[in-house]
Symmetry: C2
Subunit: 353 residues, 2 copies
């Protein structure tokens, strides 16, 4: 099937485009009233993820409103630990929780030896359905959490302010932590390859919590496993390269190391000046980002000015996918998202010949 809009994949390959492609992390989400309605229909968040039809519906919702250049699979980053039997659930207002926790080397050893991807057929079913419904309009991005990020939730049992339990586990039981991360890296490879074979045309690894580590721990406990994943991914499918984007929130100090993993693109949070990121790693990888997500609470005029500043900072040439520096938050006015997307397309043409 021909892709009608391949700007996103071209930018990731650092090939010329007419305007800078744009999508938003968490673009299928609570800021959209139609998302909230579908979620209410599903009952709870996990049921929404587990229904291919409803997951497909919310994936497509933002594309009906905005001229995004990519769709991203709607799912949760914690499907893998759930498939490993940890018992994911969502308590109202408190985010994700697990019924079983990893707190010892024995807990790690007792994790089942299963093919996670085959347990997660609801995800690959959703990917196939979304591809059919997209009908080539824009490419579909698959994704997974990074092994370190998944491990923090499995050990802490949920989110955390300082991740002290996960870090204590790492500091006091580094071997057990490596075993856990090894297992998770293998599962992520299987999972992302299953998404690719089902139709995902690019993949992103969300390393939401790598940035809370020291430089050495980041290298050993987060980046090393992402590198392993990059090496294990299917590189070409449907006759086209399947690019991989690595995104470590608060990873601005480590861009060179991230780019050296062999990934195709590096996601930047909003704290990094994109001109400097380009000077550091722009000859090796494409860059994705990086407007401050809270900028979407400012006026449409201020949003447009900020988009112009970021486009100018990246400058002329190839290899930029516009995005936020982190996911959009629920209270944003959908009209401000329209201003954002329009600004990227309108103001970027001057940077492409």
């Amino acid at each position: 099937m021909t892709l009608k809009n391949d700007r996103f994949l071209k930018a990731l390959a650092r090939e010329p485009v007419d305007v800078t492609p744009v999508w938003m992390m968490r673009q299928a989400g609570r800021y959209l009233p139609e998302y909230r309605a579908t979620r209410q229909l599903a009952g709870d968040f996990l049921s929404l993820c587990q229904s291919p039809e409803l997951a497909c519906e919310v994936t497509l919702q933002p594309l009906r409103r905005y001229a995004f250049d990519a769709a991203i699979l709607f799912s949760d980053i914690l499907t893998i630990p759930d498939a490993l039997g940890q018992g994911l659930y969502f308590s109202e207002g408190e985010g994700p929780k697990f019924r079983k926790l990893i707190r010892s080397a024995a807990d790690v050893r007792q994790l089942p030896d299963i093919n996670v991807a085959s347990e997660l057929e609801y995800v690959t079913d959703a990917v196939r359905l979304i591809r059919r419904e997209l009908n080539g309009a824009v490419p579909l991005i698959g994704f997974s959490g990074s092994p370190w990020t998944l491990a923090t939730y499995m050990i802490e049992g949920g989110g955390s302010k300082d991740f002290r339990i996960a870090k204590q586990f790492m500091y006091d039981n580094p071997e057990a932590m490596h075993q856990l991360l090894d297992k998770l890296a293998a599962a992520v490879i299987d999972y992302l390859n299953a998404q690719i074979l089902a139709g995902a045309q690019a993949v992103q690894i969300f390393d939401t919590w790598g940035g809370i580590l020291t430089t050495r721990s980041y290298q050993d406990f987060s980046l090393a496993y992402m590198q392993k994943i990059v090496a294990g991914l299917i590189k070409v499918n449907e006759g086209r390269a399947v690019p991989c984007i690595l995104f470590t929130k608060n990873g601005g100090q480590w861009l060179e190391a991230i780019a050296a993993t062999g990934c195709d693109a590096v996601g930047l949070d909003w704290t990094t000046e994109i001109s400097l990121a380009r000077a550091r790693i722009g000859s090796k990888v494409a860059l994705q980002g990086n407007m401050d997500p809270t900028m979407l609470y400012a006026s449409p005029a201020a949003i447009r000015t900020e988009v112009a500043t970021i486009l100018q900072s990246f400058g002329a040439g190839n290899g930029h996918v516009f995005n936020l520096g982190h996911g959009i938050t629920p209270e944003v006015d959908p009209a401000h998202v329209a201003a954002f997307v329009e600004a990227v397309h309108e103001l970027s043409s001057t940077y492409h010949s």
Copy 2:
């Protein structure tokens, strides 16, 4: 009065020392049972800060247990907004709150034009009392929050996950934000100079929330005002230089700019590799840091290994004050702090000739 232990001041001046000096952010705090007892005596947190006798007592408590090379004034970073009439209070388990909020340019204009330092005599009284009680044992550090950090609390009304209200104010009303920051910078200068004249032998500016900004906003809305403060501080008192330490949490991408403010030392959080920080700015300033505070939850043996790794990373020579990369947290075992301090002194002598 002669200072019996001046390692801390010598290291800040990048002069030779026998062993690397060490102190801990929040060393007077809830991890100590004697602190919790004094706080209970005081009634609430603000009363503890406002009593020079009790503030002196908790400042000295950690020095009775550990061989710290500096004391730090016990106070709260939000005394300045409180003195400006914003009505600081602490709600149990929720942290600091303000009765009045800054939400408009008019709110900024209505802030009173007062000498904040003279409203905060309880702080300078505490400084004088602590100096008397220290009797030259170790130097005393004074401190303030950075203008940007104070502004976030004044606008948000307390802590925040994403500081969206403060950032929206900055993005939509940059002029009013600059007026607020100007006012706060002037107040911080008066406040720190009053602390210095009362006996503080070094000062630290805590920019706890500068690291949530974009590079450009950090420069314009946080660092520019810290630079103004550095320029306005008393440089010599009691015949000795009064060094100034700037600490921006998550500021690792901006070390060169921080070092260029004219400060004497840069505080590093734990995400920055100290050898790289030294290569970047070690010829201009001293470095303070930077063990992960959650490392104190690991075993004493693991703590000792991490201290050794950081000492080795900094390497031989002058200009290192050992510290955590952020404040110690309440649940740490006091015995682990002893292991930390002992390790710094015991393992560092080999790096000093």
